[in-house]
């Protein structure tokens, strides 16, 4: 176990007054995995680096693009065309020279199309073992399910966030309940919900993930109103619906803006997620149970247990 030097303790004085010396030591001895260095995850990485995290691994198969520059705090114009994870290391290291940084290959953790080329489930499970917390941004349902399986094997906390323009969500699976995985929660039939009290965004997310199924690029799936209505019928079986809680146009907006971020939302959600990560590491308080819905237009961020 690494100990906190006097210099580091002095630098982190204001944070130690919140998390305690022991808490700060736990942060120094933790390892977080961030998958996809989007604007939001770049803010998470930045806050964790400044917060004195010991080790961070980044996975991102994508390259830095012009679009990254509007909200990704770790990359600049000179990084365009370079791998987004590798491009992020420089600035992170500058902010915290003591932070141990690493990148890993997407396929160290996830499966390829061609099954023969996959790493074994054991090797993927071994890979996950080294982390304390895993956080992924704007994933497909397949990615979340795969991570859920691996994380539950080794009791690793999984955080999922999704941004679509002004709307966003955070979901946390602390491995406390196998019935509360992302897949199960997202497929909750409406008979188990108080429809009037449940956040509108939940229904949009539900329909989004159910309709896009296992497609790799949910943002480019052709959504048909009939198909969506059918899904709504299945979800709302044995429920007397006075009014459908979500319109087809809401779902289209969500899909069209999937992965569209702005610096304000990235900063807010990145701040919330990094705080949940530090709270979980220090056991300062229980993590959000289990959803947070944020709408940057109205300004409300609500926690709901679904």
């Amino acid at each position: 176990m690494n100990n906190l030097s006097e210099k580091e303790a002095s630098r982190m004085d204001r944070q130690i007054r919140l998390y305690s010396f022991e808490g700060q030591k736990s942060i120094l001895n933790s390892h977080v995995l961030l998958i996809y260095v989007t604007g939001t995850n770049s803010e998470v990485a930045k806050n964790l680096a400044i917060g004195g995290l010991g080790k961070m691994t980044l996975i991102d198969p994508f390259l830095t693009s012009e679009k990254s520059l509007c909200c990704n705090v770790l990359v600049t114009r000179e990084h365009i065309g370079k791998n987004r994870a590798k491009a992020s290391l420089g600035f992170l290291q500058e902010m915290n020279p003591n932070l141990e940084l690493d990148t890993a290959d997407y396929y160290d953790l996830f499966n390829r199309e061609n099954e023969n080329e996959n790493k074994s489930k054991n090797s993927q499970a071994d890979f996950i073992k080294q982390f304390d917390i895993v956080c992924i941004c704007n994933p497909t349902i397949n990615e979340v399910n795969h991570l859920t399986d691996l994380c539950h094997l080794h009791n690793k906390c999984l955080m999922v966030c999704g941004v679509s323009g002004e709307n966003s969500f955070v979901f946390i699976d602390n491995c406390n309940d196998t019935e509360k995985t992302f897949q199960k929660v997202v497929n909750t039939p409406w008979s188990n919900l108080n429809i009037r009290r449940t956040n509108r965004l939940f229904f949009i997310i539900q329909l989004f993930y159910i309709s896009c199924k296992d497609r790799k690029n949910p943002e480019s799936v052709q959504l048909e109103e009939n198909d969506i209505n059918q899904i709504i019928d299945e979800l709302s079986q044995s429920v007397q619906l006075k009014k459908v809680p979500v319109e087809f146009s809401d779902l289209l907006d969500w899909q069209q803006n999937w992965k569209n971020e702005n610096s304000s939302t990235a900063s807010i959600i990145g701040g919330i997620v990094s705080q949940e990560i530090l709270n979980t590491i220090c056991q300062k308080r229980k993590p959000i149970e289990n959803f947070l819905f944020f709408d940057n237009f109205s300004g409300f961020a609500r926690i709901e247990k679904i």
Binding site: L18, V73, S264, Q275, K286, E304
Partner: protein, 350 residues
């Protein structure tokens, strides 16, 4: 120390430079074509003509000039996990419309006679520090004995004087005077587990035996008296001055020991004495993100004069179900002495 809270203050090489300069230099990486002008000065030196040139001002404290020039202001603040962003538009509620809670004060009797918490001890010590080191200059002849004399005054005779008020102590736990410093230091105490636990913590986070605080108290008084003589000027209490902090921590802990209050580490006492507000980068990032959104709302308001989208927001610790709570902008308090025209009647007693 700010490196923990602020993104753009760099490591190492940037320490010592002006914050505004470092922020401007580092922000260029995000947008090379933005014009950023650092100004390293006291904001109170800037007049209405300075503020009139801006569409909106973002602050971390109230600014009177914004009200005078009717410049919209987005005010931000954070403390620990809480934070807020308040938008002040000309014509609507100003910063002074809602009276601010005055700083917490304690009854004089609690501070001087019967402290019950560490904070009472700290407030008392700070008052004594001011009396002893800040209001007069000593000559060198007095400082040789100053440690012993102060020890007796604070922890022996001072306590005996309090105990003389016999009626006051009926039914209350009486404080125990320590005697003179030599006698107190000779008292052999069995080593408690407290001293041996958690040895990996930095010095300032550990809690020591009262005798160790007594030794350090005597030493710090000697040093403080010497400094006072050398400088020929009264000292000021500065929580970042290790000597002043040592004096306050030792004296507060000895007073606590006398009154049966649990002693605390120098780290914790520094927080109390310096009114240190804890901070984390994540909360500041949330507040900053909200502030940026409100600035864009304000710029929209400047065009259309419709304030429907501008709002103030509170950031609240979970487990409350609402983490970010927005509020509609309020109208001015009609009785506000600052933003409303008011007539105040004075009566002069002749």
């Amino acid at each position: 120390m700010e490196q923990n809270k602020l993104l753009l203050i760099g490591v190492g090489a940037d320490i010592g430079k002006s914050k505004s300069q470092v922020i401007c230099e580092r922000s260029k990486r995000f947008n090379g074509s933005a014009k950023l002008v650092p100004l390293h000065c006291d904001i109170k030196t800037k007049g209405p003509s300075f503020f009139s040139q801006f569409s909106v001002v973002i602050t971390a404290l109230d600014n009177v000039m914004c009200r005078i020039t009717k410049t919209p202001m987005v005010d931000t603040g954070s403390a620990g996990f809480n934070g807020q962003v308040e938008v002040f538009l000309p014509g609507l509620k100003c910063f002074e419309c809602t009276p601010i809670q005055p700083p917490k004060t304690y009854p004089v009797c609690t501070i001087r006679r019967n402290p019950e918490k560490m904070v009472h001890c700290v407030v008392w010590v700070k008052e004594e520090f001011k009396k002893e080191f800040c209001s007069k200059a000593y000559d060198s002849a007095e400082d040789e004995q100053s440690g012993e004399l102060l020890f007796l005054k604070y922890f022996d005779q001072g306590i005996k004087d309090l105990l003389a008020l016999k009626d006051f102590w009926k039914g209350k736990r009486k404080p125990t005077p320590l005697g003179n410093s030599k006698a107190f230091l000779n008292e052999k105490k069995e080593k408690t587990e407290k001293g041996q636990e958690k040895n990996d913590q930095p010095q300032e986070m550990r809690i020591f035996e009262p005798q160790e605080y007594a030794t350090l108290f005597l030493k710090s008084v000697r040093e403080l008296a010497k400094n006072r003589v050398q400088l020929r000027n009264p000292l000021i209490f500065d929580k970042d001055d290790p000597l002043a902090l040592a004096f306050v921590a030792c004296a507060a802990n000895l007073r606590a020991f006398i009154f049966g209050i649990t002693m605390q580490s120098t780290f914790e006492i520094k927080g109390i004495a310096g009114s240190i507000i804890p901070a984390v980068a994540s909360t500041n990032a949330i507040v900053a993100g909200i502030a940026v959104k409100e600035v864009t709302n304000v710029l929209g308001w400047l065009k259309t004069k419709k304030d429907e989208s501008c709002k103030s927001t509170w950031v609240v610790i979970p487990p409350k179900r609402i983490l970010l709570q927005p509020f509609r902008l309020e109208n001015s308090n009609q009785k506000c002495l600052v933003c409303k025209l008011q007539c105040i009647t004075f009566k002069i007693n002749q």
